[in-house]
Amino acid sequence: MKCEEYREAIEADPSFDGNAGHLSECAGCQAYRTEMLALEQTIGRALRLDVPELRVPELPELSTSKADNVTTLRKRSWAPLTTPTWFAMAATVVVAALLGIRLLSTGIEHQSLADQILAHVDHEPYALRVTDVAVSDERLASVVPANVARMDHSAGLITYAQSCVINGHEVPHLVIQGERGPVTILLMPQEMILEAQILAGENVNGVILPVGNGSIAIIGESGESLERIQQQVMKSATWST
């Protein structure tokens, strides 16, 4: 390794410990390394800004479990109930529980679809890996079952496939490697929208497209050519529902 390459390597990562042979023989690179380590200490100290006292915003109360939506019946103290009354009560509890679950699954916070999509992308950062390893056909088929949609690899290099919940519905969450980085695709056969919605943001260059009775969200990094991906995805995804 030449001096220039070695110096570039420690400039990129001062903890670089490769090529010890070159370092031991090159006084110039030894001096440069010492200089860079000193610079690194100064950078670290300069970056450590004083942090003001923590102010936690007023947090809204959120529903934390399905139990929140099930009414708890008071203990009744009167005479034993007859069998038909027991049946009626049991039915009421079941209905209340089902309603509770239904309410929970339809989104208690009433966030817009776009908000939910952005929040979901935020919370699965590990999906956004830059990689050239495609998911297997089996994995893709299990996440995008044939009775939901048909999706093949012609859309691009699919490197992530997971079933996720958006707006109370399980939807296939895929990541395709775009030109500028990973691009998130959410296939939402049950989310009907009337017109395309743009998802704006520095790093959220995206769109939700109406497709049949559902929609597809495509979210990439700023500057990503989404049009090409849109065309590919629209060509390769067909709703079966």
């Binding site: 990129a12 670290g44 947090l59």
Partner: protein, 168 residues
């Protein structure tokens, strides 16, 4: 009863994350926005978003990355909303200048100015590496870049800082 216990546990979990990562969140936001006041707003918004979506975080080990990703997105949204123009270092607002408040150590002062003047593309990976302890592959993942691009940016960032620090 059961739900109030669940709510308390949820709050406890949130408070633990905030206690551990608040400083990282603030410093990351401050160096992304280069403005102390904006950083505080971004952190507030990020905490709110994190609270609402806490249940989506299933891997405890990913909490830091999760919170920093939220900060990154909130910062981007803030600037998207405000459409702020490029900062001219000779014409700073009070909260921008506060980031560069004079330090007793002249070397730190000098370095802070030099970091402030780095392009966003160079400053962010440097903050993630030096301050957050991210590896270059983790930075690549966080920023949606290839690892080679991250290495180039870091190398250029340090070369620029070295050059700036050599100036009187």
């Amino acid at each position: 009863m059961q739900s109030s216990k669940a709510a308390a546990l949820r709050r406890q979990r949130f408070d633990q994350y905030v206690a551990v990562y608040h400083q990282d969140m603030y410093r990351y936001a401050a160096w992304l926005s280069r403005d102390r006041s904006i950083a505080e707003d971004v952190v507030q918004e990020s905490l709110m978003r994190a609270w609402k979506s806490l249940d989506a975080l299933r891997d405890e080990a990913a909490a830091k990355q999760w919170l920093l990703t939220i900060v990154r997105r909130e910062n981007a949204r803030y600037f998207e909303r405000k459409r702020l123009e490029t900062v001219d270092i000779d014409n700073l607002t009070a909260s921008q200048a506060a980031l560069l408040a004079e330090q007793p150590d002249e070397e730190i002062d000098h370095m802070r100015h030099a970091i402030y003047e780095l392009d966003d593309d160079y400053r962010e990976p440097l903050v993630l590496q030096v301050l957050m302890g991210y590896s270059t592959s983790e930075i690549a993942e966080q920023m949606g870049l290839k690892q080679g691009a991250v290495l180039t940016r870091l190398h250029r960032a340090r070369a620029k800082l070295r050059e700036q620090m050599a100036k009187p």
